[in-house]
């Protein structure tokens, strides 16, 4: 049976919600942005007026102010946006239990089985559009098609407050003239590489030789060919589905540049604390630590190492990260952002080879100490207990928490490549491979 898949996208989500709660702001361009003082000064969302003035998501706030001097800039209210995301899911859940979120404001719905009682895909899409407007006061654009990729293209095709149906009859007329960059996972680098080969539209990508695409982009080339031809078979996950955790990380942009090794060690300490707390929360030990650095010139680099023993101990993760800092950073360029990621996870408590030279009793004591610190923080707040090191510079203290980094779009290949492209090569694809594909496409 042909699938019927909807992709629903809340238009200018954050800005629309802010305007709904503050109707007196209507008529003036609105920008939702981070805090410039904490150097999170980028545009997270904008309303239609600010968009018309040239404001783009991701732009620095000072750039946005130049583009649209009269705009009102407000700080985000994530709890409110999460509430709307939950309410939207309640609406979606009345049509199907196959609802897969893609970020806070987008979702795929597989309504194939609902057609008999709720009408065809377009009818359901129109109903959802109306209900979102009436019940939540925000508009959505909905794409309807037989695969997730075209459904997403449909929701981008016409906005705001619209439904676009891409059928077997009209898909070549609708999809093929679109720029290749509109396709999921064609980022700026891929787009440039395609353009160098005279591939500008999705139609040209669809008609390109798959072998050539594979040669240039590897497996991702085949995936893009499948996407462009409407052959993607990736299923819509059931509501509540969560990807198995592959790694746990945390990163932060500091209010001032980190200049000395001591500055960095303060941040590494704090990051290792939150990463190890999350490892304990999910019941994992890490076998690999990855360090991510971005200097004041915005150049990023990563370095990773294997841990001698699987661990969730904050001190061991921090020490490994500091060793990586010493290898990766020569001290010349100040650092703007830093991140620590624990990967290659195994279930906590798994059997581990012991050796004669490691004092396992001391490690167990450190583990108990970490758990005790977790409990103190849960009961009395994140700032209730900290290392003396973190008191050296108050500006680098208490600037992140575990919860702040939880909202992010889920990767399309998080549960493996199930597009149908190059199937014979995909068997045995492990977690690392999936992550690699995701990074290349992003």
């Amino acid at each position: 049976m042909e699938r019927v898949i909807l992709h629903s996208d809340m238009n200018n989500c954050y800005a629309s919600i802010e305007l709904l709660y503050n109707p007196q702001w209507r008529g003036v361009p609105l920008i939702v942005g981070g805090d410039p003082q904490a150097r999170h000064g980028i545009v997270l969302a904008k309303d239609q007026l600010a968009k018309k003035a040239g404001v783009k998501t991701g732009m620095a706030l000072w750039e946005a102010k130049q583009a649209c001097p009269g705009a009102r800039i407000v700080r985000p209210h994530m709890d409110l946006y999460l509430k709307f995301s939950r309410l939207a899911h309640e609406i979606y859940a009345s049509y199907t239990d196959q609802v897969e979120p893609f970020g806070i404001d987008e979702s795929w719905l597989d309504v194939t089985a609902s057609r008999a009682c709720r009408g065809d895909g377009e009818t359901i899409a129109q109903e959802i559009r109306e209900r979102m407007k009436e019940e939540l006061g925000v508009t959505v654009s909905v794409g309807v098609s037989w695969n997730k990729i075209f459904a997403k293209l449909g929701s981008d095709y016409k906005k705001p407050d619209a439904v676009t149906v891409i059928t077997r009859e009209n898909w070549k007329d609708v999809v093929w003239p679109l720029p290749a960059g509109d396709l999921l996972y064609v980022g700026p680098a891929t787009r440039r590489a395609l353009e160098q080969r005279r591939i500008f539209t999705i139609g040209e990508l669809a008609q390109a030789d798959p072998e050539l695409l594979q040669l240039v982009f590897g497996k991702m080339g085949l995936v893009l060919h499948v996407f462009a031809n409407g052959l993607d078979q990736t299923p819509v996950e059931a509501d509540g589905w969560e990807a198995p955790v592959k790694s746990i990380g945390n990163s932060v942009t500091t209010p001032r540049d980190m200049v000395t090794r001591q500055d960095i060690s303060v941040m590494i300490c704090a990051l290792a604390d939150t990463v190890s707390a999350r490892l304990r929360l999910h019941g994992f030990w890490a076998r690999r630590v990855t360090l991510w650095l971005r200097d004041s010139g915005l150049h990023g680099s990563t370095k990773q190492c294997r841990l001698p023993k699987p661990t969730d101990i904050s001190g061991e993760i921090g020490a490994a990260a500091m060793r990586l800092v010493d290898e990766a950073w020569d001290g010349r360029m100040p650092l703007r952002s830093i991140g620590v990621r624990a990967g290659d996870l195994i279930t906590a408590g798994s059997p581990v080879q012991r050796d004669l030279f490691t004092d396992e009793e001391a490690r167990e004591k450190r583990r108990i100490l970490d758990r005790t610190v977790d409990e103190i923080r849960v009961r009395f707040g994140a700032g209730s207990i900290r290392r003396c090191l973190q008191d050296l510079d108050p500006t680098l203290r208490d600037i992140h928490s575990r919860e702040e980094h939880l909202v992010h779009p889920r990767g399309y290949f998080e549960n493996g490549n199930r597009t149908g492209a190059g199937e014979e090569e995909q068997h045995g694809t492990d977690g690392d491979e999936t992550v690699r594909v995701r990074h290349r496409g992003a």
Partner: protein, 82 residues
């Protein structure tokens, strides 16, 4: 755009039945005046684009007139004239 209504939080006296349903019975205005709810005609999730917010909207009859009363996470509000 001139705004003619504003969001006003109000006290509500309500009954809660054994099914967990809420039945608003009386709206208490900020000056202490009580307005008895004669009938709840409809209850559905709705956005108030005029006052700003979302919630369960109770369409109620007060002194013979249809009024809207919103409940959002335990707080009640009305679209009050400025």
């Amino acid at each position: 755009m001139e705004q003619t209504v504003m969001k006003r939080f109000v006290c509500v006296i309500a009954a809660h039945d054994t099914d967990g349903k809420t039945h608003p019975m009386c709206v208490v205005w900020e000056d202490g005046a009580q307005y008895e709810i004669e009938k709840v005609e409809e209850c559905r999730r709705m956005a108030s684009t005029r006052a700003g917010g979302v919630g369960l909207r109770y369409a109620v009859r007060i002194r013979g007139k249809r009024k809207y009363l919103y409940e959002d996470e335990g707080r009640w509000f009305v679209e009050a004239k400025c």
